[in-house]
Symmetry: C2
Amino acid sequence: MSSDTVTSTTQTANDRIDGWLARLDAALSAGDVDAVLELFGPDCYWRDFVSFTWNLHTAEGPEQIREMLDDTLERTAPRAWQREGDADETDGITESFLTFETAAGRGRGHLRLNGDTAWTLLTTLQELAGFEERTGADRDRGVHHGVVRGRETWKQGLERERAELGYERDPYVVIIGGGQGGIALAARLRRLDVPTIVLEKNPNPGDSWRNRYESLHLHDPVWYDHLPYLPFPDDWPVFASKDKIGDWLESYTKIMELNYWTSSTVRTAGYDEASQQWTVEVDRDGASVTLNPTQLVFATGMSAVANIPEVPGQDVFRGEQQHSSQHPGPHAYKGKKVVVIGSNNSAHDICAALWEHEADVTMVQRSSTHIARSDSLMDLALGGLYSEEALAAGVTTDKADLIFASLPYRILPEVQKPVYEEMAKRDAEFYDGLEAAGFQLDFGEDDSGLFVKYLRRGSGYYIDVGASQLIIDGEVKLVGGQIDHLTEDAVVLADGTELPADLVVYATGYSSMNGWVAQMVSQEMADKVGKVWGMGSDTTKDPGPWEGELRNMWKPTQQDNLWFHGGNLHQSRHYSQFLALQLKARMEGLDTPVHALAEVHHTS
Amino acid sequence: MSSDTVTSTTQTANDRIDGWLARLDAALSAGDVDAVLELFGPDCYWRDFVSFTWNLHTAEGPEQIREMLDDTLERTAPRAWQREGDADETDGITESFLTFETAAGRGRGHLRLNGDTAWTLLTTLQELAGFEERTGADRDRGVHHGVVRGRETWKQGLERERAELGYERDPYVVIIGGGQGGIALAARLRRLDVPTIVLEKNPNPGDSWRNRYESLHLHDPVWYDHLPYLPFPDDWPVFASKDKIGDWLESYTKIMELNYWTSSTVRTAGYDEASQQWTVEVDRDGASVTLNPTQLVFATGMSAVANIPEVPGQDVFRGEQQHSSQHPGPHAYKGKKVVVIGSNNSAHDICAALWEHEADVTMVQRSSTHIARSDSLMDLALGGLYSEEALAAGVTTDKADLIFASLPYRILPEVQKPVYEEMAKRDAEFYDGLEAAGFQLDFGEDDSGLFVKYLRRGSGYYIDVGASQLIIDGEVKLVGGQIDHLTEDAVVLADGTELPADLVVYATGYSSMNGWVAQMVSQEMADKVGKVWGMGSDTTKDPGPWEGELRNMWKPTQQDNLWFHGGNLHQSRHYSQFLALQLKARMEGLDTPVHALAEVHHTS
């Protein structure tokens, strides 16, 4: 293709986007919802993060878009729709980034046209007017030069803040959990001047990574893993070791000047509807502190309360029994017989580490599992958005995050299926080896692969970083079946197979994150907010009805002023932006009417 | 101007640069030095950092360029000269970035044509072929996924390295001094796999900043101050507090995984010409360690050995006497009478801090001083290269550093004069106020201002961050004159003025950095390498003959394997690149013949 042709294609694509945005602008400005709907095709999605809905919400199809606009258009007062950068046209789909403004702030989005009507539209709030982050030319001056007696230095100010916040004055937000999720959110809130305390149970930032098994490295590549504001240096390894990530989080926490309370746990928390404040009883390094924030965020990790199956004979067994979250690592088990119940990520990781330390390891697979090799995931699933090649093509992390978000969850499985078909072909020999070893494989119930499975249930897969080869080679023994009972020294399966054991590890997963609410607040409140994560796909561990977005994550819940935050590094980075804006808006007393607050269909 | 005109001007400028580079390429490839010289005008400069000369050297005029090429061309084998980005034409000068290659590596440069012949050419070595930093797509993988018994983790590897380096195996480089200079150089050497130990006398990285007076903020704006590889976040204040910089340096040192020995001082160091190794006796936190590096870098700060004038009566005076470097800060001196001898940066800073703490302060000005207000410096002197506006215009820090370096020191005064003429106008009222208070002002001996004065003597100026107003207002008393003697309780000037004093602070500057060599190695070696800093401008404290580059900084000295590194944050960032490449090349045994090794004209 000549460069003239490229230019002309781009021009046509730009014109198409510009024309559509002009028509959208006119229809929205006129408050003419019918005219807006004419711009969408019959198969259409409008996903909104905060900008129209003060919610994370996907309106699916014309009728839901109508409902959304009827509820939100007047007060949102959107305007100034502009294409951002050049549009792209491939296979009849024209797509582009865009910017817009609302009564509350400035937004950014992404549009896909199928022909001349919209297939997908993403709108996201980027900043609140009047409460912008002070960066670049608007950054703080640091010092107004001049000599002033008694002026407080930066250090004195920081020390005073740390002495006062939580004691002499209330934080507006308390974040329970100081892993990557809590840290990323706190960094964003700091830039927005929202007084925030992060509570972390470990003695140092980063310990939640350091405490994990020795050989752990990130399973996702570096381009996918940046935190906000301070990208990793450009020599950062593709898959960093857990201790390196731990150290980075510690430095990051310091650089971002977070109010980060280490060795701090929540004893109890309660919400007073009258004062609209929380009372959070904290054990800070042995001392009791009562915090009264307005907003409480659970960033305690998707892996919440441990699921341990009840098995007859657990009281008879003379060896050790642990949930995977209690497993202290492999060092004490050299030469021991270990039975690991489960076949997801934790089970594989623990088996591999035990094998490395010369334990005699058996994995018990109870149901089929999706295995995706880390390299293949990087190349096939993430490479288009998060890689050196993507960067070279102008797809920065910010842009990649928006493109990733531009695909509504309803259509994501269809988009993902070809990726995993390709993976199955590419790694056919590998999968054959696993099946030959007796491993029960799946690619998700509809073959939509790992990321969709992660969204649906947060489990049911292993990102292979080496353990699968141990199973293929028989180095880690594999047995399929259900546990029937334990004897004094063995696990007995339903088919009578007896597995001698000094240690049984239950790598049997976790309950929903609202289990933390039950533990710290009350079962009643946990039931009120309901199940966290999953989207109602009507697949295993993610019962219907369809909800369109992840349950309770990063958005308002049925409990005022109670929020959930977390996920992998990518999600912690991207969604912290929208949660931070929701919290800031409330602190500033802006009107934040929530459209389509999700109902609770499941309590766990 | 229409966009067509802009395009056509750019095209003409590009063509001019391209044509010149093609002719240069042909002449160099043919080894035809006469033809090369035809491409330069009569007033011409070729400044080279390492790429041709293995030195920092400016060839001034055709004859020096001929000498340089006669000596270096054949072995350098330069080729592939290319314009980088669009050229720019202003007032008959066409300028552009450029790239090229040599036998040893890849280079980058900058060219200014006056008409069709070169006025200034800068050539710099950017990386050594075969020894590139592993970044971006070439970055380390971090882990090769797979389960391997006994594999060393990242953390174990780092701990092993730290246990071994300096004990079981020799570092290739030892850097004395762990301020911004030592840290930036060590970060670059780390990326180049050069085993390096940094020796820092304080207990923590960043302490050299933290230990300074309380109200200190950077005098240079943030855009000028980045360290390599990890820019400050975009909300970093324009003028950061010294403690914030200290904390940043500490985090930076950790993130860059430097072998950074705290609480470590050099007792003695000696060089063995036979083995070409140093013996460095170190006190590391009370324990003796002997290091045997091949290369020794003094990054001890431009402010080396304190100059204290000998004054009759110093033995009689009953109060305290301190050099500015010994001054413990103002806290103990509330209500005390303090006489500060000197009127440069330290004197002003100390006077202001003492005034803040309600001491009775008198400054004794012995000679005229250049004062430049920090804001004016930022706007007039640095803003074109280091500012938000510059960034928006595409002038990244890397590009700004190259442009800054593209002006040979010979012509820098002429370029700088208009800046300070403008400053004198802009701040006329301020300067009038100072003169009215009796302050003796200058703008450098040739009115070329602060940066040139800094290069010539590293002293003689104050970047005003507020103390000048105290002098204007008489809050800090000012007396001009020379000290004659001290009595039991006063400083007496030559004109008989008696200044009662509880404390005398000698803010009387420092001797040359080779004073450190005298202290740690020998006077003989200090004399052998000679004076450090300054360029032979034949002005006060910078005697001729003209040398063209800073003496001994970042380049080979008369002592094999002995180097000096330092300067402000800008210089620490930029010049560490060229010093790191010189060290790496030597470690790898590359041929590094030095062109025009500077002679020693002064020993201090």
